[in-house]
Structure formats: structure tokens, C-alpha cells
Amino acid sequence: MQNVLLIDDDIELLDMLSEYLQREGFTTQLAHSGNDGLALLRIHSFDIVILDIMMPGMDGLETLKRIRELSLIPVLMLTARGDDTDRIIGLELGADDYVPKPCTPRELTARVRAILRRSQNTPSPQENNRVIEINELKLWPGKRQAFWFNSELLLTSSEFNLLEVLVRNAGKLVSKTQLSEEGLGHPLARFERSIDVHISRIRNKLEVINTSKNPIKTVHGQGYIFIVE
């Protein structure tokens, strides 16, 4: 059973969401502040964190930053609809995806499943050892591991998914629509920027290991290409 950590200061909301998720087959633990959430995260193991960005005290963005210092666990943000700044900052800090509030629990659950589907499938041993190798990049989709110039790339779940989509289509232009549907598990929303933010984070991580070569190229207004040399 998949274990979800819910962090939100709205106690009533969290109780209802928790009940909903449990009925959908998840186990949940609740935290009503960023600090409580971080404490739980240190003790227990979770599959995903649902994190409200608008919290008093230590806000969601600060909490997210500290979570990322601890682990690469998938994080789904709850953001205020229309507040693009928080959303973009959250994605830049390494959140996997976001759901604007108000939202229905159905939408929320669908997003959670979309993130978990990729990170949680338990593949067969053969699949586990299958490797995709292009240029200096080695990618194990089953183990969800990636190496670039023999150094391990530490990617969040969404980043790994997007890189995988690009690598599987290496040398071809991949549209943002395709990246969103195959990488994030939901259709591209109008004026959506999250793909760009995720890709930019992947590029940065690639550049930290090797500054001279960046295989991911932007095709303005259309999408991205993983260049094969």
C-alpha cells in the first residue's frame, strides 16, 4: 500500500482528504505544519508528499526546500489558483507537479496516481537491468537510475520521467504536449510552464557534471530534442 504524507494547515480539509485517499487505497499520515511534516519524513518512509504552499509560519516553499535537502521523494504541491509565482518557484525548487486549489479530491488523486505510476511500478528482473545508452548517458528505466559521464544524476520523479521520454525519442523533436502526457501523466494545460522548469532543472543537473556538453536543446515554441552525437 502506498503511503502518503499530507502537509496542510487546514485541519478539516486534511481530515477529509485523508479519508478520501484511504478509501482510494492509500495509507496517510497528516502534518499540520512544515516542521511536523519534516519530522514525520525523517522517521517514516513515504511514497509521496502532498504539500500546501500557503501555510502560516514556515511556508510550503521553505518546507519543500528542506524536503529536497533530505530526499528526492515525489512532491505534489497545492498552490493558489492564479498564483503563478509560487507555482514556478515551487517547481524550480524541485516539486514534481502541482494542483491549483480549489480542486476536487478526484483531480488530486489522479495527479498523485500519475506521479506514482511511474516511480512505483515494480518491474521484472530483466526489465530492471535493461539500460538505454546514448552518448555518455546511461539510463535504467526499471531501476529509475541515470548516469551522465559515469556520475549519477539525482533526479526527481518527474525529471526522470521527462528525461526518459526525451531519451526514448532521442534525435527527434518532442513536443511539450507529448512530454506532459507521457512524462507527467496529464495533458498540457494552456500556458503551462512546468515542462520548461523541469527541463531547465535537468539541464542544470547535466551541466553540473559536464559543463561543456548539454544534449538537451530547446526548439523555441515547439519542444525539446535530445541530441544524438
Binding site: D10, L13, Y20, R23, P102, T104, R190, G221
Partner: protein
């Protein structure tokens, strides 16, 4: 710009000119119509110099020709008086005592011929010279120098006075124009604040008023923003509860669906209110980018076509293929244009025409529907938030909050653009023109 200045200037100047010339004329007139007195009788040696030609003219040319000659003279006037009737040749008035004086002086003047007598037939004429000095002394009749001086002086004072009045008003006008554009933290020019008169006080009053106005509007916008924001928490909880309810009840439940639908509507309303309150502030620089206009409008039109199908209406695309880039916020522009098209689709009988064309430094987007149009009385108000035209209220299918066009107008205003609404004649349709400058500044 300087219209007011010139109005002041000419009014003051003409008033001064009228005064100067009027006073001059009056003085001249009075001087010339004072009763003749002894001082006016010219007994000098030179008098005969004036008299002689008149005398010879009387003798040779006759009375009428001489009268003509006399008319042309205006100073050192030769008077010709018929002694039997005491009438002057040109019927100029001569006081009787002045004539007596002339007769007394005849003897004295005989030596230098300053007064002469002439007999023509049975009539005896007395000729003498009357000297009417000009009011300005022994100068020419038209006082060119004083008049020019006065005119120039009046020019200077008219200029100074006109500027004194018009300059603060111009400054005030510029300031108030800023307020009209929504800038409430106005700074008064020192030329205004330094004035101790009513205009200075007016300026300070306007500043106070504007500051207050700005505060009121500001707090209203903030209130709107806060309310919308605060409504979201209960709405999220409501949606959660509804979700749970749906999860627990196995059968399809119309009421739950209804609640979910209404939640979506509230969510939409809150979103629109937040957009509206945000549009009251200027769009920040980070939100502005170069927008490739063609894919934007094409996407809107494609969506409109799709929506039109379900309404069994037609969208006719007349947009030009010129490549256009505009400066602005693509998200705001997208929804601003979409709002108008949604409206058009809702009100159209069958067809909506959408097109755009490049004008000078701007792109004009037009959206025309073949619906009934809007009552003329409603035209000016349709961009008011929550305003719904009277023919919309009658029709329950035309749901909306009345915020769409308000958002559209504010968006275009924020982009220095313009929105023009007009009815086609005879209730055959409604036309919206959206004008968007290519560059923001």
C-alpha cells in the same frame, strides 16, 4: 495645449487695446468739441498764409468749390462766416460770443491780415483761422508714439497676465489627466504649490481629494482580492466533502453533480474576480513578453470553432496571415479575446465572424455576431463588472457573471489598447473591435 493661454492673452490684450484707443479717441473728441475760445483764434502773422488761398479760391472758384477745399483741412482751420446770417460755410458751429470776439479783433488783425473780409455779390464773408491744438500738444493728430508704446506695453502685460492664469491651469490639467489614467499618487508642480491664491488652493485640494480617492479604490481592490482569496479555503473544503459524498454513495447522484457544478462556477467567479482586481494594478514588467500573435489568435479561433459546433453555430475565420508580434501578457490577452468570442457565440443566431488586421502600430481584432445586439442604452455599461444586458437576463441559457467584458476592457486598457462596441443597424448584429498596440510604450 496652449489654447487657454491664447484665449486669456487675446481677451486681455483686446480689452487693453479697446481701453487705450477708446480713451484716446474720447480725449481727442472732447478736445475737438470744446466751445471755441479766444485762444483758438489764430492772430499770428502766419494766419494769412492759410487765409490767402481760401480768399482767392472764393474769388475765382466760387463758394461750393471753396467748401470742398475747406473740408480737406483739419488743423488751423479756416472758417468762412457769412456775416449777415452768421452761418459758417461748412455749417460748423461757432459760438456767437466767439464771432463777436472775431469782429473786435478785426481791427487789431488788419496789420498782418490774420482776419480778412470779402464781399462776394451781396454777401459779406469774414475769414479767420481757428487753431485747435491736439490734446497731445503741438504733435501730429495721430499720437503714433504713445499709442505704439501703449500697445506694446499692453502686449507685454497681456502676455504676463495670461501666463499667470493659464500656466497653473495647464499644470493642473496635466495632473488631473494622470488621475484619469488611474495614477493617484500625483505630485504637484512647485509652481502650483507656491501660489498663495485660489488656484494654488485648488491644486492642493485636488491633491488631497486624489489621495483619498486612491486610498478608497486601493482598499476596495484589496478587499475584493482578500474576499476572493478567503473564499477559496471553504470552497476547497466544500469540494472535498462533495468528493467524499460521491465516493460513499454508490449510485449516480444528480444533487452531488449539481453541487460540483456550482462549486466550479464559484471557482470560476473567484478566478475572474482575482483577475479583475489584479488588472487594476499595472501589469508588472516580468509578466510582459513578446507574444507571437498568430498562434494565439489561431488557437482561440480553433477553440471557438469547436465550441460553435456544439451550439450548432458557425465561426467564420477572417484573420489575416501577416506575421504579428505584440508586447504583452499572452495569458491575459488570450482570455480577454476569448471572453468576447464566448459572448458572441452565446448571442449569435447562427454565425460569428472573427478576424484581425494590421493597422499602424496596432493590430485590430474584430468579432461580429448576427445576434440582436445590445440596447443602445446598455452599450456604455456592458463593461461594468456584474452588468448583464437586459436581453441576457431574460434568457436563462445565457449564464455568466458579467465579468468577461470587464476583464477584456481592463486587459486592453492595461496594454494601452482600446475596446469598441457597436450595434449593426436594425438589430442584425453586434460588433466588437479590439485594438492592441504592437508595443507597450
Amino acid at each position: 495645449m496652449y489654447k487657454l493661454f491664447w484665449k486669456f492673452f487675446f481677451t486681455i490684450w483686446i480689452a487693453q487695446l479697446i481701453t487705450i484707443w477708446g480713451a484716446g479717441t474720447a480725449i481727442w473728441y472732447i478736445r475737438h468739441h470744446e466751445p471755441l475760445s479766444e485762444t483758438n483764434l489764430d492772430l499770428s502773422n502766419g494766419a494769412s498764409y492759410y487765409l490767402d488761398p481760401v480768399l482767392s479760391s472764393l474769388k475765382s472758384e466760387g463758394i461750393s468749390a471753396t467748401a470742398e477745399y475747406l473740408k480737406k483741412r483739419f488743423r488751423r482751420i479756416v472758417y468762412v462766416v457769412d456775416t449777415s446770417t452768421n452761418k459758417e460755410l461748412l455749417n460748423r458751429k461757432i459760438p456767437l460770443d466767439f464771432l463777436d470776439l472775431v469782429r473786435q479783433k478785426t481791427q487789431q488783425a488788419s496789420s498782418n491780415h490774420a482776419i480778412q473780409e470779402l464781399t462776394l455779390g451781396d454777401r459779406r464773408y469774414l475769414l479767420f483761422v481757428v487753431d485747435i491744438p491736439s490734446p497731445w500738444g503741438n504733435k501730429p493728430l495721430l499720437p503714433v508714439f504713445p499709442l505704439t508704446g501703449a500697445t506694446l506695453a499692453s502686449l507685454l502685460f497681456a502676455f504676463l497676465l495670461a501666463r499667470h492664469f493659464s500656466r497653473p491651469i495647464e499644470l493642473l490639467k496635466e495632473t488631473v489627466e494622470q488621475v484619469g489614467l488611474g495614477k493617484f499618487d500625483i505630485q504637484l508642480h512647485t509652481q502650483l504649490t507656491n501660489r498663495q491664491d485660489s488656484l494654488g488652493e485648488l491644486a492642493v485640494d485636488i491633491q488631497h481629494m486624489t489621495t483619498r480617492l486612491g486610498k478608497v479604490i486601493d482598499s476596495q481592490t484589496r478587499l475584493l482580492h482578500t474576499i476572493s482569496h478567503e473564499l477559496r479555503s471553504p470552497l476547497t473544503r466544500l469540494q472535498m466533502a462533495t468528493g467524499l459524498l460521491r465516493q460513499k454513495s454508490s449510485e449516480n447522484n444528480d444533487e452531488i453533480e449539481r453541487i460540483e457544478r456550482e462549486c466550479k462556477r464559484i471557482d470560476l467567479l473567484i478566478g475572474q474576480l482575482l483577475t479583475l482586481s489584479r488588472l487594476d494594478d499595472e501589469i508588472s514588467k516580468q509578466e510582459i513578453e513578446t507574444v507571437n500573435f498568430n498562434p494565439l489568435i489561431n488557437e482561440i479561433i480553433e477553440n471557438a470553432k469547436f465550441e460553435a459546433q456544439s451550439l450548432q453555430k458557425t465561426v467564420i475565420d477572417q484573420s489575416s496571415s501577416d506575421l504579428i508580434n505584440v508586447e504583452g501578457n499572452p495569458i491575459l490577452l488570450y482570455y480577454a479575446i476569448e471572453n468576447v468570442i464566448r459572448n458572441a457565440l452565446r448571442h449569435a443566431r447562427k454565425i460569428v465572424w472573427i478576424g484581425h488586421q494590421l493597422m499602424n502600430n496596432a493590430v485590430k481584432i474584430y468579432i461580429i455576431d448576427d445576434g440582436e445586439g445590445v440596447d443602445d442604452a446598455d452599450l456604455a455599461q456592458i463593461t461594468q463588472p456584474f452588468y448583464r444586458a437586459s436581453n441576457t437576463q431574460k434568457n436563462p441559457n445565457m449564464q455568466g457573471f458579467g465579468l468577461g467584458l470587464a476583464i477584456t476592457q481592463k486587459t486592453f486598457k492595461a496594454h494601452n489598447g482600446e475596446v469598441i462596441f457597436s450595434n449593426l443597424p436594425n438589430k442584425t448584429g453586434f460588433k466588437v473591435e479590439l485594438i492592441l498596440p504592437l508595443t507597450l510604450h
